[in-house]
């Protein structure tokens, strides 16, 4: 409907050539603006207002009235501190792992893959061809007690026979790392690929050996990709609930799981909304600090 509305606005625009010209930018902006207002601004305002509501005494479940109760935030946070912190720890570990896996991969694709470059890039994106949920469920098979990893590990003498991988923090973090890996690899690849190989040759020419060239030239020049990749991995990982739900146990619950159960199971909208807002605000603050810190805005 938003699009239809925008199209209508465009056709009924002013007729004068000069004026319609000055209107063009606004007309072009209109569909996006209308979309954002309908599906972002409006829900967020509604969420904000829900977050301070209170359920009147004796009212039905799911009935709330606005009382501007900001205490909701404090209550929600103190009750779920543990999951809250766990979310950021898991997301951080998954981001670091994804970076460690993706950097060599992206480097290889950008500089060493030759004619296989496009095939490798398709392979990086290939997991998106199947559903996110299915892929995560597949990990329960891979990490399952009878799965290839556990049974192989059990052959080792120092591994206890009762070893399990499913329903552990390891499984949740593995799932997060896996699911968001392409979001790390692609921006990294994009920024590595943009590096002029001659600058690397120039570094060698100026007495830098391979390792020094990597440290002093390749890494700094790939920083925009590192920053973009870590943000694209960390932000969705911190808010994710699918991995913890499918691969975890009650003790690996993340804040996403809490919000989900508050909304759909407990029907406690104000707490869920307050938690969502706190999560958003924390991510926003962390991201701002991170970008300031890495000084990416200075990079070309």
């Amino acid at each position: 409907m938003a699009f239809l509305h925008a199209a209508g606005t465009a056709s009924s625009g002013p007729k004068s050539g000069l004026r319609s010209k000055s209107w063009t930018p606004y007309l072009l902006l209109a569909p996006g603006l209308i979309w954002l207002i309908t599906f972002f601004i409006f829900p967020i305002v509604s969420l904000a207002s829900t977050s301070t509501m209170v359920r009147p005494e004796g009212a039905q479940i799911g009935t709330y009235v606005q009382e501007l109760r900001f205490q909701n935030y404090i209550d929600a946070f103190t009750a779920n501190q543990e999951q809250y912190i766990r979310s950021f720890v898991y997301a951080a570990i998954a981001t670091i792992l994804a970076l460690a896996i993706s950097y060599p991969l992206a480097y290889m694709i950008a500089f060493k893959s030759g004619k296989y470059r496009n095939i490798l890039l398709v392979l990086v994106v290939a997991p998106f061809f199947t559903s996110f949920l299915l892929r995560t469920v597949a990990w329960t098979q891979i990490l399952g007690d009878e799965g290839p990893i556990v049974s192989t590990l059990k052959l080792l003498p120092f591994i206890d026979d009762s070893m399990r991988l499913t329903s552990t923090p390891f499984a949740v973090i593995s799932g997060l790392t896996y699911n968001f890996l392409p979001f790390m690899t692609l921006p990294l690849y994009a920024s590595l690929e943009r590096i002029d190989p001659r600058t690397l040759e120039a570094a060698g020419d100026l007495y830098a050996n391979g390792l020094t060239t990597f440290r002093k030239v390749t890494v700094p020049l790939s920083m925009p990709g590192v920053v973009a990749g870590t943000l694209l991995t960390f932000i969705p990982a911190a808010g994710d609930y699918v991995n913890a739900a499918i691969l975890g146990n009650p003790n690996t619950k993340m804040i996403g799981n809490v919000i989900e159960s508050r909304f759909f199971a407990v029907v406690d909208y104000p707490t869920a909304a307050a938690l969502s807002f706190t999560l958003m605000a924390t991510i926003l603050i962390l991201v701002t600090l991170y970008i300031r810190r890495t000084g990416t805005d200075e990079l070309v």
């Binding site: 002029d196 001659r198 600058t199 040759e201 120039a202 570094a203 060698g204 020419d205 100026l206 007495y207 830098a208 050996n209 020094t212 002093k216 030239v217 700094p220 020049l221 920083m223 990079l299 070309v300």
Partner: protein, 375 residues
């Protein structure tokens, strides 16, 4: 401008029978070359002639398939680029975009563990007259400025040999002229061996003491700009450096210090010292500006017709057709003796024997023509 002349006396750069193959393709073919210490040397040739590959082998960015490279007594053939005392000014400068100009120039010094780099970097920047830009990033500089920084970044390390890979290719004509003079000045000041790779014959002639003209992986001829221009030894060199008239001719006699040759009933004389072949079938060559629109000289062609005329300021360039349908180029200076001919006018041509040269007749008359504007 406190930049003491670097007298390193490291010895000449010697390439001994080097070749580079890429599969079946011979990029560089059994090439031997000695570049005297402290000289400004140019490798000139069309794109794909192997000049850049030669340069990259000297820099250590490619390894020769055969042959050796020495600087003085040191064999550097397989030495890693970061170990050899050779620096390169890359074609598109390859400055580090994330570092300031100061840090770009300091890069080499720092990699060699030098702590106090300030005075040397400042001197290098002063040498290229860009000291005031030290705190900028490369992206904030113009092409000409980046070019100079690339030179400063290489020179600050006091290399034994400085390699310049088409360093002026990306600049416009006016800036290029200016940088040619600038580079020559810098070379004089620091006294380092410069090896300059270019496809631009004018650039090579302006700057280099010695030019090696390369074609298909081999050196066609080596010498000063004057030698190459006035006495080319091959049709390729004759055509690649400036314009040239080449006429197929037969040697009738070699005596008295001169060769007498004939072509289509015309007789010409060439000093024997200017005939570079023992073959009797030769190409008689003469530069367009040496040809006069007269018929009094020893070497002359009568009954020609002007087929084209273009006025280019300092001279008028005529295209003249002989009776046997050969087109020759004639440049006439725009001074008092101007003929001011029109298309269709009858004309005779003449030139002095000492401006004539004789090349082996087995070559393609058009070798090397129209190649210099590539890339």
């Amino acid at each position: 401008m406190a930049n003491p002349k670097v007298s390193q006396d490291t010895g000449d750069l010697v390439l001994n029978r080097i070749s580079k193959f890429y599969g079946d393709f011979k990029a560089v073919d059994d090439l031997s070359l000695t570049v005297p210490d402290g000289s400004f040397f140019a490798l000139l040739g069309p794109s794909g002639c192997g000049k850049t590959t030669t340069l990259r082998m000297i820099a250590g960015l490619e390894e020769p398939s055969q042959g050796t490279i020495h600087i003085g007594d040191t064999d550097i053939t397989t030495q890693k680029p970061y170990r050899r005392n050779v620096n390169t000014v890359f074609q598109n400068y390859a400055l580090f975009p994330h570092l300031t100009i100061f840090e770009n120039v300091a890069f080499g010094l720092r990699r060699r563990g030098q702590k106090d780099v300030k005075s040397e970097v400042d001197n290098a920047l002063a040498l290229v007259e860009l000291g005031h830009l030290a705190e900028r990033k490369p992206g904030q500089l113009s092409g000409g400025q980046q070019q100079r920084i690339a030179v400063a970044r290489a020179i600050v390390n006091r290399p034994e040999v400085l390699l310049l890979d088409e360093p002026l290719g990306a600049l416009d004509l006016k800036l290029r002229r200016q940088m040619q003079i600038e580079l020559k000045r810098i070379q004089m000041e620091v006294g380092i061996t410069f090896i300059h790779v270019t496809h631009d014959q004018e650039e090579a002639m302006t700057m280099a003491d010695t030019i090696a003209v390369m074609n298909q992986g081999k050196i066609e001829q080596m010498g000063s700009a004057t030698d190459l221009y006035e006495a080319p030894k091959t049709a390729f060199v004759a055509n690649f450096l400036g314009q040239c008239n080449l006429i197929k001719a037969k040697v009738q006699s070699r005596a008295g210090g001169k060769a007498v040759v004939t072509a289509k009933g015309h007789t010409f004389e060439i000093p024997l010292t200017r005939v570079s072949t023992n073959n009797d079938s030769i190409l008689l060559g003469v530069r367009p500006e040496k040809v006069r629109l007269d018929d009094t000289g020893v070497n002359s062609i009568k009954d020609c017709v002007v087929t084209d005329r273009s006025f280019v300021g300092t001279s008028t360039q005529y295209l003249v057709r002989t009776l046997w349908d050969l087109e020759l180029v004639v440049f006439e200076q725009n001074d008092e003796g101007l003929h001011d001919l029109r298309v269709g006018d009858k004309v005779s041509l003449e030139w002095d024997p000492e401006h004539t040269f004789g090349l082996d007749g087995a070559q393609d008359v058009n070798a090397g023509a129209d190649l210099d504007d590539e890339e």
